[in-house]
């Protein structure tokens, strides 16, 4: 009876529902925060979740969609963090005004570094790419540790931040909007012509190359984009914490983000979002077990890998349109039952 929806219409409705949902969530959260119904700890938690979502979704573009294992993502975050913090520190504007350009600058610098690293690194594949990105990530950290402008191992601090007490909502809004944008961007990228080329590289690089896909171009493009968003995530993290300690941006941070991508399912954007949220939240829940926390965490990780190596979501995405369609169909079925009586 009802005509099947065209793909465009489906997509439009889906996007509208998602957008509406996000706006409502953002408004509700703001009201709750202003009224003081959500305590600062919860808001902080949500901010960290948002930052990790940005980092995980950006890594997912390279590791999930393109299938290139990268172990130096935290290095790009560190570059973005320094650039953004130094910018807000140098211009001295109110942070609400200076944060956006600062994040863009942080992202751009990370992207430039990513581009420069990508040119030699992307010549390698698989494990070797993983090791070389690990190497570059560590080099970035070690250099940051030894420079004077970054204040070395003592950490860079003293740049403007939002007060968690008086103004918990502003940074939350920034993070929320940016995270939503990164997810949106990543999704449209993945379903575009570029995205299909990138997925072709993941499936079989040699076959992709012989079908006329410029593999080097797409690899560099994706790597640079991913570095850009990592830089933005780093800038946000710096302004949330108020200090940049290079030792927090080492190999273990890169692994942490990679885990979010892998557990969520390589190539699944919503998977990255869900697992970034869970993996940020879980350690807090397990804090009660203090000493056993990391132990449980690692056992959990091994078990997921053993019993579901594709990750929780595989390559599937959560879609808003699905429950909507389900509701609509149920509604129609009910209607048909009422009006149709016993007729066929």
């Amino acid at each position: 009876m009802s005509k099947p929806w065209t793909k465009t219409r489906k997509r439009a409705i889906s996007s509208l529902i998602t957008l509406g949902f996000l706006v409502v969530v953002l408004l509700v959260m703001n009201v709750l925060i202003q009224l003081g119904l959500v305590n600062a700890g919860v808001v902080d938690m949500l901010k960290f979740i948002g930052i990790n979502i940005i980092a995980a979704v950006s890594l997912n573009m390279v590791s999930g969609m393109m299938g290139q294992l990268v172990l130096g993502h935290a290095g790009f975050m560190l570059v973005g963090a320094y650039a953004a913090a130094m910018f807000t520190n140098a211009v001295g504007w109110p942070l609400t005004a200076s944060l956006t350009p600062a994040l863009i600058i942080g992202g751009l610098l990370a992207a430039i570094i990513g581009f420069l690293i990508g040119i030699p690194a992307l010549r390698l594949r698989g494990d070797y790419l993983a090791i070389i990105t690990l190497g570059f990530g560590e080099i970035i950290r070690v250099i940051a540790n030894s420079l004077t402008i970054t204040n070395g191992a003592k950490g860079y601090y003293g740049f403007p931040t939002f007060s968690t007490r008086q103004d918990p909502a502003t940074l939350f809004n920034f993070i929320f909007v940016i995270a939503a944008f990164v997810v949106f961007f990543s999704y449209t990228f993945g379903t575009s012509r570029h995205g299909r080329a990138v997925i072709a590289i993941r499936e079989d690089e040699i076959a992709a190359e012989s079908s006329g896909i410029r593999t080097t171009y797409y690899k560099l493009l994706t790597f640079t984009l991913s570095a850009f968003f990592a830089g933005v995530a780093g800038g946000l993290l710096a302004h949330q914490l108020g200090i940049i300690d290079p030792s927090n941006y080492g190999f273990s941070k890169s692994v942490e983000i990679l885990m979010m991508v892998v557990l969520g399912g390589m190539g699944s954007i919503t998977g990255s979002v869900v697992s970034a949220s869970v993996l940020t939240f879980l350690p807090e829940v397990l804090r009660g077990f203090a000493n056993y926390r990391m132990l449980i965490y690692s056992v959990l990780l091994i078990c997921v890998m053993l019993f579901r190596p594709k990750g929780l979501f595989g390559r599937a995405e959560l879609r808003v349109i699905k429950p909507y369609e389900w509701l609509r169909d149920r509604h129609r079925a009910k209607k048909a039952q009422k009006t149709g009586g016993g007729g066929s």
């Binding site: 294992l69 091994i302 594709k310």
Partner: protein
């Protein structure tokens, strides 16, 4: 003279890297897995030595106990974690993540048992004092000698014995090796045991050289040893040894003449240079990818 002693110091540290790199290289050669938990096996070995010595057993017992315990731990890890995934034909990245998980598990388990503080271990061997330019080098010489002996033994085992040939066959083509009647899963298990035992030997040298151990000591050491393995050409036994020594020397010279904060950057810088110039490593064979 100063240069010479720094060079020898570097070689001493490099010997430890080399022993660990051998394990990485062997495991990678057989299952194409970067066994991130390998670095933590050294930590396990070090703590085993520490524990056995604290029970007042003599040093040889501690050394043998550590080697045995590490080999068993290596086999358990291989059986419980990696081989299931390998049998299922899971993607390589799943294996890698599992390895990282095992590494985290070992670190946190040992932190829980022994606490996170550094433990002091006694110097284990009484060596006749040999000095060059006023610097004690007997320990360094011991490290180098042990590493070289281990390498030669391993090379002989892989090249001459039946098991060694089976290992080569498995690394070349696991499917064909199975068809030839080689029990590949047993060979993989054996490889992990040998690799872990070598790590234990490395841990004994580590204890003797640094005399201080922590549950997290394996992470950086493991990474550097892996760099050494890649540098020398992964899958090649003399290559791992050469890579370890070169890395040790580079570190030693950097600490002597450069900025010691940048040591890790130098190590990874070397890795990047070799990967760009000769991705297969110094002594590795380049495998052309076929469609």
């Amino acid at each position: 003279m100063y240069f010479l002693t720094q060079l020898l110091n570097g070689l001493g540290v490099g010997a430890i890297y080399a022993l660990v790199a051998l394990g990485y290289s062997m495991v990678y050669g057989i299952v194409q897995l970067i066994n991130f938990a390998h670095g933590d096996i050294i930590m396990v070995g070090s703590f085993t030595v520490y524990t056995i010595l604290s029970w007042n057993f003599p040093v040889p017992v501690a050394v043998m106990g550590s080697i045995l315990f590490c080999a068993i731990v290596g086999m358990i890890i291989s059986r419980v974690a990696y081989q299931r995934l390998l049998n299922k034909g899971a993607p390589r990245i799943a294996l890698l993540i599992t390895a990282i998980g095992v590494s985290m598990l070992l670190q946190n388990l040992y932190q829980l048992i022994y606490g996170s503080g550094a433990k002091a271990v006694p110097r284990m061997f009484d060596l006749p004092a040999i000095t060059v330019g006023g610097v004690q080098i007997s320990n360094t010489l011991l490290n180098i000698a042990v590493a070289l002996v281990m390498m030669v033994l391993l090379q002989l085992m892989v090249g001459r014995t039946k098991t060694g040939k089976a290992m080569q066959a498995t690394s070349e083509d696991a499917g064909a090796a199975t068809l030839m009647g080689i029990n590949t899963s047993r060979i993989i298990l054996f490889t992990f045991a040998i690799g872990s035992a070598l790590a234990a030997v490395g841990s004994v040298l580590y204890n003797n050289t640094y005399q201080q151990i922590t549950p997290y000591m394996g992470a950086m050491l493991g990474l550097k040893a892996f760099v050494a393995a890649v540098f020398g050409g992964i899958g090649s036994i003399p290559g791992a040894m050469l890579g370890g020594f070169i890395l040790g020397i580079a570190e030693g010279l950097n600490n002597a003449y450069g900025n010691s904060v940048l040591t890790d950057a130098v190590v990874f810088g070397l890795l990047i240079i070799i990967l760009l110039i000769k991705p297969a490593g110094l002594l590795g064979k380049h495998v052309r990818e076929k469609v």
